[in-house]
Amino acid sequence: MPGKPPPDEVLHIQDLHITVHDGAATAVRGITLSVGPGEIVGLVGESGSGKTLACRAALGVLPAGCAVSQGAISFGGENVTGLSRRGWERLHGTAVGAVFQDPASYLNPNLTVGGQLAEVLRVKQRLARAEAHRKTVELFAAVGLHDPERVFHQIPAELSGGMLQRVMIAIAISCDPRLLIADEATTALDVTIQAEIIELLKDLRDQRNLAVLFVSHDLALIRELCDRVVVFYAGEAVETGPVEEIIDRPRHPYTQALLRVASVGDFQRRELRVIPGQPPQMGEDVVGCRFAARCPAAIDACRSGPVDLLPLGPGHQARCVRAGDPELDAAAGAELAAR
């Protein structure tokens, strides 16, 4: 194992492997990623690509039957892999907060949303009742809820989906974590509300130097928010780099395919493209590149052995034997520019 991760990284994941079905299959195969202070890193990929499992490992809440079989996760240089349940409980809220797709299912429908946040503060920070109330109202205002004093006394059913997601974000950041994990946090929201939540996350990053790990299947959304991107495919990181690099000069054919199917906001009629084929089954062992079967640029070398992440520029890497092949890049570049 390489040396200790630099302590200035809020989250560092090194060579993470996650097995599912009690070790019968490997769903995440050697993910390495890091998030610095005030940085927003996006994880993008199809459903089943392992991005949610990687997040849950970083939260210490893997579902039953799943386990970290190899690799390490650390917060600010402190190794948290294999931490006990009590150990994780100590970190939840104070080191890492999280928001998910369906805010209503994480709140008690019978209690006021303010009471639910105040309870977190009273337990985690041992605040007195009046103090917890005051700080709750402050947090509600910080996440852009209008009339926070009124919202405090409302129950989840009285609030819209966008307001509930703001409440969840307020709860997630209530104990000043350095890292926020947002797993498909805007997927269920209207586009107008989604745009507002994206702005809120940017504001929180700017005001609190919050690090954000943002998971989405929508590359267009990642583009709007993130500084860096990790592209997941069938349990592996196939490309990683600064967001402009990934969007303007994608080097992995899967990233190029994702870009061809992504939404373009000019609303012109263009052919709706699809990525033909299916990803390999979870746990299926593939010799060589896992994307080769669907790849228009695959050659024999792709199927002969494991493919490593190839450095292509500052912070830019791709897991493709043909990455950097001028012929491949020229073809993809011309096609993407035509969109």
Partner: protein, 351 residues
């Protein structure tokens, strides 16, 4: 792919609309709970066209679809199909209309709308079985045919919804609707739960069904950019009222209602070259207070361009634009706000 039918000689107002909603009002709940979900909705669907119906949560999109298929009875106004009223039918007449399968609805979430205990074959054949008049062999033949139309393999027929992928489930929902040979397909958020590749696959499939079967399709969606690739016409709902209705190419190039423009500016995009940003289309603290008359424009409270005239509800009126006779918007300032928007700051103002 053949060209969409936009020739007015084929699809234009000279021919009768397939489906018409005239002044439809829907109120859900009673007494203090009563909620006016749809108000004075006038909408025509013409043969062979794909219409995108957009709006946010609570705008009445789903209620409109459910009203068309007779699951909800409008308080006022009427729904006609091929000129015959289908709203307000009772008992046997209503049952007959539903079983005819003229209008088929594809629901939003296939996991919740498909019976988890039935096989794909049973789900797709159920409509025919309920309608009666055909034997089992014929039902199976048609179910297999419907599955082929959506590009699914026959080997899926013996599986249950839990054993197939999300994209396949949505195709099964569409096959179920196609099995009864509908004349109009209504799809409620058919792609909102899918990733980009599967979303495009389903939209292309709907486009192909229109081209090969001539089937008119209404697609309800909150995702405007995906509609741009497939729909001929777009209808925008805001709080139960139609605020803009027109050809996709024109509406998405130069929207006439500020709400349509806000929806467009909010859609995520891999390119950063929008004509207007959300900040140019949202109210800020610096904007003068909007008129607060109860009967006024419902969007005025969110509209940065609202003026005193907006205290009176704007009617849906034709947009005078050469070459388009089927574009209308409900905004007093539909021809005025665009230059005002361009003058506003494209960036967020600090609060």
């Amino acid at each position: 792919m053949t060209a969409p039918i936009t020739d007015p000689a084929i699809a234009g107002p000279t021919r009768a609309p397939l489906l018409s909603l005239d002044g439809v009002d829907v109120v859900l709940g009673r007494g203090w709970r009563a909620n006016h979900v749809l108000s004075e909705v006038d909408l025509n669907i013409w043969p062979g066209e794909i219409v995108g119906l957009v709006g946010e949560t609570g705008s009445g999109k789903t209620t409109l679809a459910r009203t068309v298929v007779g699951l909800i009875r409008p308080r006022q106004g009427r729904v006609t199909f091929r000129g015959a009223p289908i709203s307000g039918l009772r008992r046997a007449a209503r049952r007959r209309e539903r079983r005819s399968g003229h209008v088929q609805l594809v629901f939003q979430d296939p996991l919740r709308s498909l019976d988890p205990d039935l096989t794909v074959a049973q789900i797709v054949g159920e409509g025919l079985r309920i309608r009666g008049g055909v034997d089992e062999a014929e039902i199976e033949r048609r179910a297999a045919g419907a599955l082929a139309k959506v590009g699914l393999d026959q080997t899926l027929l013996r599986r249950t919804p839990g054993q197939i992928s999300g994209g396949q489930r949505q195709r099964v929902s569409i096959a179920r609707a196609l099995a009864v040979d509908p004349e109009l397909l209504l799809c409620d958020e058919p792609v909102s739960a899918l990733d980009a590749s599967n979303r495009n696959y389903i939209l292309r499939l709907l486009g192909d069904l229109r081209d090969t079967l001539g089937l008119p399709i209404v697609i309800i969606s909150h995702d405007l950019s995906s509609l741009a690739g497939i729909a001929d016409r777009v209808v925008v709902l805001y709080r139960g009222r139609i605020v803009e209705d027109g050809p996709v190419a024109q509406v998405f190039t130069a929207p006439r209602h500020p709400y349509t423009a806000l929806l467009m500016a909010s859609a995520p995009s891999v390119r950063h070259d929008r004509p207007l940003t959300v900040h140019q289309l949202r109210r800020t603290a610096a904007d003068p207070a909007p008129p607060s008359a109860a009967g006024g424009c419902a969007f005025a409270a969110r509209c940065p361009f609202a003026v005193d005239a907006c205290a009176v509800r704007p009617a849906l009126v034709p947009v005078a634009e050469p070459g388009t006779d089927r574009w209308s918007a409900a905004c007093h300032r539909h021809a005025e706000w665009q230059p005002l928007a361009r003058e506003r700051s494209a960036l967020a103002t600090p609060h």
